[in-house]
């Protein structure tokens, strides 16, 4: 190949690489402040909590450096009891942790699925031309704009068994005979959390998908119409494939959010075994028990689990996050 390159061409190529290097250098200096910032707000805290997870740090020793290295003891260790039994300890041997993992995954799967379907329906409605569309688009965002703490409190009262409006409605409609203690019963606590989360986050999904819908060229629909294609077929053959990139990105955003859910559950159903998630458990250890070793081990595992889910999702869904293929 090199033999065919003429002298002026070579010079031009050399000049180009020089220019490219120069541009790369300039780009690096423009990015440097941001990278530095990211290092301090993301990489350093992450590194610190991974470090803490290998120590016996408590609230009293995290600042004075008196905590000791304990290896993987926070993750898994054992102790022989006086009667000869072996007791496994550490996060990986803790049934509460696996319960929290199961709760989190269950919550993330159900909530993201329902929010995607409902969000898509809402987006399709909002994409249609009708009078007062601007107003409806703004109004639908209200649940999403309310701080989670406030909506969790509000729904907590609405779901109250004695004076909650939800029970009152269901009773009046004769759907139930006696009020349901939504947030108290282990079997309904997760449903209560799901109701509030879906109510709150569907607008966000709808908005992301609406943006995707508006990118689809109108003339595709027009030609489909001229060809007399059934609208349902148009949806599955035209709308959905073209919406896919936006849909996949929306789902990954929500999935990341759902896997680290904390505030809604901490306020609505504190300490209910049926809803406690990985973040809630880690918070309890860090903030309330002052057990930074175990709490950090849980945070680290949470980080790894989320990473695994995201990698799987990108790989299976072949999501194009870098935008190179489009």
């Amino acid at each position: 190949m090199t033999t065919t390159v003429t002298a002026p061409g070579l010079r031009a190529a050399r000049q180009e690489t020089g220019l490219q290097q120069q541009r790369a250098r300039a780009a690096f200096w423009f990015l440097a402040p941001m990278l530095l910032m990211l290092f301090f707000v993301a990489a350093w805290p992450l590194f610190r909590s991974i470090m803490f997870s290998f120590t016996d740090a408590t609230a009293n020793t995290i600042f004075n450096g008196q905590s000791e290295w304990v290896g993987f003891d926070n993750y898994l260790t054992w102790r022989v009891r006086d009667n000869g039994d072996i007791r496994w300890r550490g996060v990986l041997a803790d049934p509460d942790w696996w319960n929290a993992v199961w709760n989190t995954v269950r919550f993330a799967f159900v909530s993201v699925t329902l929010e995607t379907v409902l969000g898509l329906l809402v987006a399709l409605v909002l994409n249609a031309e009708f009078k007062g569309r601007g107003f409806v688009r703004a109004a639908i965002l209200i649940p999403w704009a309310i701080p989670t703490i406030v909506s969790a409190r509000m729904w907590g009262w609405m779901l109250n068994d004695q004076f909650g409006i939800i029970n009152d409605l269901l009773l009046q409609l004769n759907l139930i005979d006696s009020p349901i203690a939504w947030t108290a019963r282990p079997d309904t606590a997760m449903i209560a959390v799901l109701i509030v989360d879906i109510w709150k986050t569907t607008p966000f999904m709808a908005l992301l998908m609406l943006a995707g819908l508006q990118m689809i060229p109108r003339d595709m629909y027009e030609s489909a119409k001229i060809d007399g294609i059934h609208p349902v077929k148009v949806f599955f053959r035209v709308t959905l494939p073209l919406l896919r990139p936006a849909l996949m990105v929306a789902v990954i955003f929500r999935l990341l959010d759902a896997l680290r859910i904390f505030d809604l559950i901490y306020v609505l159903t504190p300490r209910s075994e049926g809803t406690v998630t990985m973040s809630v458990l880690s918070y309890l250890n860090l903030q309330q028990f002052g057990d930074y070793g175990e709490g950090s081990a849980q945070s680290t595992l949470l980080f790894l689990i989320i990473a695994v889910f995201v990698v799987l999702y990108i790989w299976l869904g072949r999501v194009d996050l870098s935008g190179e293929r489009s």
Partner: protein
């Protein structure tokens, strides 16, 4: 949200007054000290009036930094600040159970309190709860112990007497609930309490177990005593209330939810702290003038007696404060009879100073205070002293186990056996 009612004019006149009286020559003047405290009830509104006499006397300035009402949330934040040796906060309002956990960060107030004569004025059990290895960690400001609230009108109507055992309570509650419902009062419930999985459930369940002769979870010498038949019987008894005399929702109730049900007139009995008395007699209360309080019922086993979990708040001085002398002086003032009386009259808080229970002014405003003296006789501390740093985790394990019993997921014997093993693991590490 920092409260400052200080006008410069006020401070200078106060300084002049101090100079004229020569009252506190030893202390620095014009110093600003900060107090951090949970914002509960009337505490924030009353703060400026409460510290005003001290500010005028010393020429210093007290600033309140309000925090969330939940004691567990406060605790997490305070511990971080203290571990980081933060000097921004001079005084901490501390819960009765925190002293052993935070002792190393607070100034020993024993010499100052002795000099001011506060030790002998207070209830000895309360001073004891704030003493760790001979050091007074915090000065008591007010105390708390729950009681059984009952509807005088309903008990009279159905010819029932005030129950003294849990069994009687269960029967009376069931009888009145059934009779009232038969008359068309479909929303009435027999007994409301706090069944949510949180620190409050530790208090409720400790009372059931202790009053049934089942010990106090972990004894003062550190023995884990919770796995015994009487304790299991007490929890099974409480589990039997859910869905019969108590609504199922009680499993998610904290203090305010139970008060909500009670204050709308829909409960015959309620277990709650003294603050509810004040509010239940308010103008918007459906039960105003129709209720009274009694000590909580006793169980039936050996050593059964009424038991009330000890609550209460105290004032501690941070070791990292730059103005320790002024802060100690303020803590002494806040624990003094003068300040406790002001707080009793304006916030309805129970004093820790014994003589105030005979103070005519207080008794005239709050005749029910006299009744709480009886409740204090049976006060039982939570096991914060023998568990120290681990108290929060112990309490969480305990209320989680109790919650699984009262919500019917486990029977009490199994739950307590597992709890015992978990507590051993935690405390014998």
């Amino acid at each position: 949200m920092i409260h400052r009612t200080k006008a410069i004019a006020l401070r200078s006149s106060a300084l002049a007054a101090v100079a004229a009286l020569g009252a506190s020559g030893a202390f620095a003047q014009g110093v600003e000290v900060t107090i951090v405290s949970g914002a509960v009830g009337a505490a924030v509104a009353n703060f400026d009036a409460l510290v005003k006499p001290w500010e005028e006397r010393t020429g210093n300035d007290a600033v309140l930094v309000p925090m969330p009402a939940s004691t567990t949330d406060q605790f997490g934040q305070y511990r971080l600040w203290l571990a980081a040796q933060n000097g921004d906060i001079d005084l901490y309002q501390t819960d009765v159970i925190w002293a052993p956990q935070l002792a190393e960060h607070f100034v020993d107030l024993m010499p100052a309190a002795q000099e001011a004569g506060l030790i002998e004025q207070n209830f000895p059990s309360i001073i004891e709860s704030q003493t760790v290895e001979g050091q007074l960690i915090a000065i008591p400001m007010f105390t708390d112990a729950p009681a059984l609230y009952y509807r005088t009108d309903l008990l009279e109507k159905h010819g029932a007497s005030v129950p003294t055992t849990w069994e009687e309570l269960q029967q009376t509650a069931q009888t009145i609930q059934d009779a009232e419902r038969a008359e068309g009062n479909s929303e009435i419930w027999g007994f409301v309490w706090q069944g949510n999985a949180y620190e409050g459930l530790t208090c409720d369940a400790l009372e059931w177990i202790k009053s049934n002769g089942g010990g106090q979870i972990i004894e003062p010498d550190g023995t884990i005593s919770v796995n015994n038949e009487q304790a299991a019987a007490a929890l099974d008894m409480a589990a039997g209330w859910v869905g019969t005399i108590s609504p199922e929702g009680v499993l998610a109730y904290q203090e305010e939810e139970s008060r909500g049900l009670w204050q709308t007139g829909n409960a015959v009995f309620m277990r709650n702290w003294p603050y509810a008395y004040f509010l239940s007699n308010g103008a918007d209360s459906a039960v105003a003038g129709k209720f009274d309080v009694a000590p909580l019922p006793a169980g039936s086993g050996e050593g059964a007696q009424s038991a009330a979990t000890l609550g209460g708040w105290n004032m501690a001085v941070s070791k990292y404060s730059a103005n320790q002398e002024v802060a100690i002086d303020l803590a002494l003032y806040l624990g003094s009879a003068e300040a406790q009386k002001q707080r009793a009259l304006n916030e309805g808080n129970l004093p820790t100073i014994q003589s105030l229970y005979e103070d005519p002014e207080i008794l005239e405003a709050y005749p029910y205070f006299a009744r709480w003296q009886e409740v204090f006789q049976t006060a039982v501390p939570r096991p914060s002293a023998p568990t120290q740093q681990n108290y929060n985790e112990v309490s969480t394990m305990f209320f989680t186990a109790v919650h699984s019993v009262i919500s019917g997921e486990e029977d009490a014997a199994t739950a307590l056996e597992d709890l015992e093993a978990d507590l051993e693991d935690l405390l014998q590490e």
